[in-house]
């Protein structure tokens, strides 16, 4: 059990090192001659106007918000799904009730016109 996670940890370390190796190789092999034009922000040849960190459409944020709630709830379904085969039918219905509450939230967001790209 613990060894499994140790293995994953090693995998993580090596998995980070492997992409760094070609980056380092490139650092030594590639030419490096910076100049202001080359390093300017690329926007199809037109000079960039104003701040790059523009304010974006807040609809993205609303989707992220709905996603957060749904993500938390679906992840909680995993233990239930795992134990499903040995659960009583009542317990299965409990899980389904959980999903229905979730769907009620989705219906609410839908009815409120929140999912629209307005």
């Amino acid at each position: 059990m613990q060894n499994q996670w140790l293995y994953i940890g090693l995998f993580l370390v090596i998995g980070v090192i492997v992409p760094i190796v070609p980056l380092l190789a490139s650092r030594f092999l590639a030419p490096h001659k910076p100049n202001p034009i080359k390093q300017s922000t690329y926007e199809c040849g037109i000079e960039t106007v104003g701040e790059s960190w523009v304010q974006f459409k807040s609809q993205y944020y609303i989707y992220a918000l709905v996603f957060l709630v749904f993500d938390v709830e679906t992840v909680f379904l995993f233990p239930w799904a795992l134990a499903l085969q040995k659960l009583a039918i009542f317990a299965v219905l409990e899980g389904i009730l959980f999903i229905l509450i979730l769907l009620a939230g989705l219906t609410f967001a839908w009815r409120k016109g929140l999912l629209e790209w307005a």
């Binding site: 996670w5 992840v75 909680f76 134990a83």
Partner: protein
């Protein structure tokens, strides 16, 4: 020092260092990214505590959703964070003192508790905490009520957040 302890200390150093960066970094997106590092460290701790499910939920929920939402929120409210001026208010000294006192107080209370340096018991072979968690979450004599209430809480949060976020549009 055993390997376990070594990993714990590394992980604790990561958590503390990045947590300090979270509260002191001037750039809020950096703060949020440091928060990701902290949360990842906490996930490693859960794995160390043999709570594999919670470790992964930590990554999925915190890094995959909450951190993303934070970064989105920072970018939505960017006009103010052009990093001008200090990011700490004038009471930061007092706050630091309070934080240190809180830590000292907690440490004192904990160290006078008898179970402070308890050792872990081995999880009995053949038990599967994850599957047990599955039973516990939906069986009526265990935690079905908190489970459903959590779902309703999240529903309420969704409704509330959506209401607040859209009400100001009009």
């Amino acid at each position: 020092m055993t390997p376990d302890q070594f990993i714990f200390l590394l992980c604790a150093a990561l958590i503390i260092a990045s947590a300090i960066m979270v509260v002191t970094s001037k750039n809020l997106v950096h703060s949020a990214l440091w928060l990701v590092a902290t949360l990842f460290g906490v996930a490693i701790l859960y794995a160390l505590l043999q709570a594999a499910f919670l470790a992964l939920v930590q990554v999925v929920v915190y890094i995959g959703a909450i951190a993303i939402l934070f970064i989105f929120a920072v970018m939505l409210t960017r006009r103010e964070l052009r990093d001008k001026g200090p990011q700490l208010n004038q009471n930061w000294g007092l706050s630091a003192v309070m934080a240190v006192f809180t830590f000292g107080g907690l440490f004192y209370i904990l160290s006078s508790w008898s179970g402070f340096s308890a050792k872990a018991v081995e999880i009995p072979v053949g038990t599967d905490p994850l599957r047990m968690l599955g039973y516990a979450l939906v069986s009526p004599d265990a935690y079905v009520l908190p489970f459903e209430v959590a779902s309703i809480l999240l529903l309420a949060a969704l409704v509330g957040a959506v209401y607040i976020a859209t009400a100001s549009k009009k």
